[in-house]
Structures are given as structure tokens and as C-alpha cells.
């Protein structure tokens, strides 16, 4: 079943302490999960063979940047201070969620005539060092 993205939301919390809180002014969000293959095709064979490779996940956010928003400022501070990965929770309108731990790898603030200031963030999901948990999980409440 389709979900209404306008009614979905992003929540965020720092690595230690705090609880998830809604983040305002998110224009769009996109996740990219991938698992490149490892080619193990031997010579003298007519069919390719692969092993499953290492999974990877990234995300991209487009936000209406607001310097008065404590979370937006915290994200900038995370880059500036090279902070550890923090927690991200995308809650679909239907109740399902995608949750993971990710670094902010870039944050690009832009301003243009006849528009409002925006920022684009790139996230890199990662496992916590020493953890056996996956870098991100999907919860299906449906």
C-alpha cells in the first residue's frame, strides 16, 4: 500500500542521551540501500557467478535551513566537531519506520534569489564499532 509522504516525518537524536524528536522543515528525504556484488566468474565458463557483497546505505535530506532551529544547528556542529554517528528515524505515515545510525558526511547550505535558504545533507549509515546490530533496520507495524 502506498504511503502519504507529506504525513511522514523524520526524527533524530544524538548518539548519547536524549530521545527522538521531530525535525521540522524537511523538504524531502531519500534513502539508498545497496549491496554491490563480487564477481567470482572463473574463466572457461559461460555464466557469470557472483557472491553477495557488503551492504551500504546512504541518505540525502533537503531541508529549509533555519539557523534558529536547534537541530539544524546541531547538525552543523556535528560536522564541525567530527562527532560520532547519531540516530535517525524515518516514520512513514502508515507507521512503518526505517531507523539507523549515520554520520553526516556533508551539509551544503545554499541561497538563491527569489527563493529561501536551503541545505542538503548527505548521510552515511554505519554499524556502531563492536556492535552486532545492523547499520539500519526496517520496522513493519502493518
Amino acid at each position: 500500500m502506498a504511503f502519504n509522504s507529506s504525513l511522514s516525518k523524520l526524527q533524530w537524536k544524538a548518539l548519547t542521551g536524549g530521545t527522538y524528536a521531530d525535525v521540522a522543515a524537511i523538504g524531502s528525504i531519500s534513502f539508498s540501500m545497496s549491496r554491490p556484488t563480487l564477481d567470482i566468474t572463473p574463466i572457461n565458463t559461460a555464466t557469470s557467478q557472483f557472491l553477495a557483497g557488503i551492504s551500504n546505505a546512504t541518505a540525502s535530506l533537503d531541508i529549509f535551513y533555519d539557523n534558529d532551529d536547534a537541530t539544524h544547528r546541531a547538525w552543523l556542529d556535528h560536522i564541525n566537531a567530527a562527532n560520532d554517528a547519531s540516530f535517525w528515524l524515518f516514520v512513514l505515515e502508515t507507521g512503518e519506520s526505517i531507523e539507523g545510525q549515520a554520520f553526516i558526511t556533508s551539509m551544503e547550505i545554499s541561497a538563491a534569489a527569489n527563493s529561501v535558504g536551503r541545505a542538503t545533507l548527505q548521510l552515511q549509515f554505519t554499524k556502531a564499532p563492536g556492535s552486532t546490530a545492523a547499520a539500519w533496520t526496517v520496522t513493519n507495524s502493518g
Partner: protein, 135 residues
């Protein structure tokens, strides 16, 4: 808490600036239409589009594109009001609504003209603004 009435809040923004209401009395600033024989100058406005710009979580960012029409007897009289209208269209809290950004996109001038007989068409300046507000 009362709900957002963006049309009303736009009028609140316009009449909040004395520099504008000294040129156009607040009673002549209206949503949608004005009486054809009403006194000039006058200002009407209407929302040409309204959209949701952010996903959920926190206050929703919305974008209202608004057309403002200054109507005056002469082209000069209409254009003389434009600077005050630009100042009036500013960010702030109007009613219960936070206007985060108000962007003046453009304005177009339609000069006064004389029609059949002694009929005169007043001059109009149509301005387009974008209002990013939270609801």
C-alpha cells in the same frame, strides 16, 4: 488555538505597515475584489497557489503565492505605492501565523487607459509575492 486563516493573515501583514495604510486606507485593502465605483487607490489580493513544502514532523512549511493589485487613477500614483508595499510584505508573525520569508518576485504595470466615451480604466500594478509560512 484558532486555525490558520492565511487570507486573513495576509491582510494583517499588509495593514500592519503604516507607510502603506497612509497611502491606501486599510478599508480599501481587501481580499478578492473591490467595488467598481470604490475610492482609489485601492489594493486587492488573492492567493494564486498554495502548497505544502515540507513533510510532517514539526510545523509544516507551506508556500502561498499571492497576487497583489494596486489600483490607482494614474500609472504614477500606482507605482508610487510600490515601495511601501514592498516594505509591508515582510517576514513576521501575523495573527497566529509565522511568515518565515516573504519574497517579492515581480511586479507588472498596466497603465491607465481611456475607453469608449469618457470611460477611464484605472492603472494597475500587479505584484507577485511568495510567502513561506509555518502551520
Amino acid at each position: 488555538m484558532p486555525g490558520v486563516n492565511i487570507e486573513q493573515d495576509i491582510r494583517t501583514m499588509l495593514v500592519a505597515y503604516g507607510g502603506l495604510t497612509s497611502a491606501i486606507p486599510a478599508a480599501r485593502i481587501s481580499h478578492g475584489y473591490r467595488l467598481q465605483d470604490g475610492a482609489l487607490p485601492a489594493l486587492t489580493y488573492e492567493i494564486s497557489s498554495l502548497s505544502q513544502e515540507s513533510i510532517g514532523g514539526g510545523a509544516t512549511v507551506r508556500l502561498a503565492t499571492v497576487e497583489l493589485n494596486i489600483v490607482a487613477e494614474t500609472t504614477k500614483a500606482a507605482l508610487d505605492i510600490v515601495p511601501a508595499l514592498k516594505v509591508a510584505c515582510g517576514a513576521g508573525t501575523y495573527g497566529v501565523t509565522d511568515f518565515d520569508a516573504v519574497i517579492w518576485r515581480q511586479h507588472v504595470t498596466s497603465p491607465a487607459s481611456v475607453g469608449e466615451g469618457d470611460e477611464q480604466q484605472p492603472a494597475e500594478v500587479t505584484a507577485t509575492i511568495d510567502i513561506y509560512y509555518r502551520e
